[in-house]
Amino acid sequence: MAELPFNGLRVLDFTHVLAGPYSTRILGDLGADVVKIMSEARHGPDGGTSSPYHAMWNRSKRVLQLDMTQPDARLICADLCNEADIVIDNFSPGVLDRWGIGYQVTAIENPSVIYIQMSGMGDSGPWSSYVSFAPTVHALAGLTYLTGVPGREDIGIGFSYNDHQSGLHGTVALLAALIERRKSGLGQRIELSQFEVGTTFNAPALLDFFANESITGPSGNELPFDQAAPHNCYPCLGTDRWIAIAIMSDDQWTRLIEKMGTPDWATGPSLAHVTGRLKNQTFIDQRISEWTQSRIAEDLMTLLQSNGVPAGVVQTGEDLVDNDPQLASSNFIFEYANEHPTLGKISGDRLPLHFEGTLIDKYSRPEIFGESNRQILKDWLDMTDDDINSNIQSGLIR
């Protein structure tokens, strides 16, 4: 692979917030020409192009600022759709159709175009008009209930996991359609339901319910379906510092207690097998906590991993960015070559795919409103400067 794999691929991006932008970020990182349609007046909940949130998910794209409330802007969009390989949105169903640029219309002129709509609930069904953000989907899909501790329903995943996963699954679907298009020459429309994406992640609990009528509950750091103990996070020296230890076999248990100095409480036959340890988890967790709390998490991890014991520091974002030697060794956090016009010098995280022979290490920084308007219209629609000036005068673009 000498060049980026998606060089020459044109993606028209109507997405906002995180799920869709994460998908198009990946396509852009891989070489696609992603044009993101944005309106300064209605930029959505991600705060506009000068917000860190926008900057995190919208690198490797160019921004075209259009006022979609104006019919003529929609005509420009229709022309862009006709030039696109991929059109992506995460609106509720029907928005692009109402703008006259839905798949059915575009496919007449551009039969090889692939559309994907990443709506909350999908096109059909009694909840199809329901609206959602990731925390909504977490709740409805069971992710909030299952990630937590017994007796509580208000914990759940502490970040918008399902947005990332919807973006990733949308990308998988798009790439599958691109592969299919090579054979057929035809595009198609993909309907992705973010609710269904989220629900797949509880597959073990749902399979268990359908097969056994068993209702899985939250279990903290314990594994509800597999035998592993101890398996928890333990306090370490410092403020809110923790180490996770996951003993997946009896041999690892022996290795753990060896590094703990083979304390008397741990050496009895009742704890030698996982069955006995599962019965005594609270006791074991207390003893391990007493051992870890006066120790430095990083030192413990090195000590245990060197003896074949799965253990890891519970790392914060600051750890990942400033202290993680593994991420540092792959230059995972990088600084953009060019300053952002309003945010100044900014950094990002690399695409976590390492292609043999092709180092993906150049990322164009996130753009601000209107930054590439003129060039996009020239590149995609062969507009002249006079055409563009006319559209600027009429207020369609800046």
């Binding site: 909940p45 860190p52 995190m56 798949y103 059915q104 039969p111 909350g120 069904g125 909840w127 329901y130 609206v131 953000f133 925390p135 709740a139 409805l140 069971g142 992710l143 209930y145 501790v149 329903e153 914990i155 502490g158 970040f159 947005d163 996963q165 990733l168 599958a176 359609a177 691109l178 198609q188 339901s193 269904e196 629900t199 992640f201 597959a203 073990p204 609990a205 749902l206 399979l207 359908f210 209702i215 509950g217 597999d226 996070c233 180490i243 799965p310 890891g312 519970v314 914060t316 974002g317 990942l320 030697p325 593994q326 060794s329 792959s330 995972f332 945010l343 976590p352 292609f355 043999e356």
Partner: protein, 391 residues
Amino acid sequence: MTGNQKQPVDPPLAGVRVLDLADERGIYGSKLLADLGASTIRLESSHDDGLRKRGPLNKNGESLWYSYYASNRVVIEIDTESDHGITQLKKLVSKADIIIDTGIVNSITSTEFNLNDLNSKVVHVDVSSFGQNGPWKDFLAPDLIAGALGGSVAATGDINTTPIKLFGDQSFLVSGTYAAIAALTGLYDSYETGLGGRIDIPVHETIASTLEHVLMFALYPGFFPWADGKVLPRRGSLHWGNAYEVVPAIGGSIMVTPTPNVEKQIAWLVEEQVEEDLLDERYTALEHRQEFVKRIMTVLRKWVATKDAESFFHEAQSRHYPFGLVMKPNEVANNPHLKERNWWKEYPTENSVAKGPGDPYKFSRSVLNKPAKQITFTSLSENILNTIGWV
């Protein structure tokens, strides 16, 4: 209807050949490709592959986990530590388009086993816990450890709990999905260039890439005054932006938020005469924005506590508020929306049929097949290759 939609066609990846050599860290990637129609052969060292024992089990003692994550596979038992096994593996590699691997290929020491010599077009996706280099490359990282080091565990839980892992193998569902993306990207490129190649995927990096605000708080210190330096301490369901939270209602819990249209939310509170001081003009000032967000969340919490959870959720959604009812697995399983969309799928096991999640996407032309029963062969033969179309 456009011409594109008249004739349903095969699944999008029909004709693509995938060799699945993956453990938990990559098997979800193979599943995504297999369910999208790729002809997928899974190699196992014996019938006692550890993944075949993973819970939950059905009443026959069969792994429901395996039936779901190893869907649509032909399984061939090969001992990759024997010369005979290497010969068989070489044959499969020579015919594959994609290999989803978690270290098997790297572990083969035979000098005669060179992927590029065997098949220069094959895309080799190798998922490892930390990558091929670096100080942690040999660390052991089951899901809890992967999530702890990757950053997802520190962000989950609250001040009264330990940090908490996400339910299931979420760390590996992220790396698995990235494996599918890598495989299809590599395949697309190999069609263009005639060359495959290796793509490394460190689980660690995939998790760190999918933490929403976590890296943002560390990369933009000072932007968010409610952070503790570069970190937002874990705080249950309260979203980093302070405007989404799970709150108790009567008979359940609901995720509530005044976004994306705060004015509309206040109008509803006014309609119900519970707006308290939210109309105070001082809240319109930008400098009072965070104070206002906290205030409206307090008002919402108090108001929602008086409501029946389920009926209130539906009323809110009928008004287009993105509220979410906290649902248990049995409630998700009986969800009327998923039922009407005919979403659930049946996954045949050796002696039974499991029911589980369907595909999260639909294609207007390509039809995704129903999961086929897994077939296991104890050795590779030309007959088998003919049967499954790998000729």
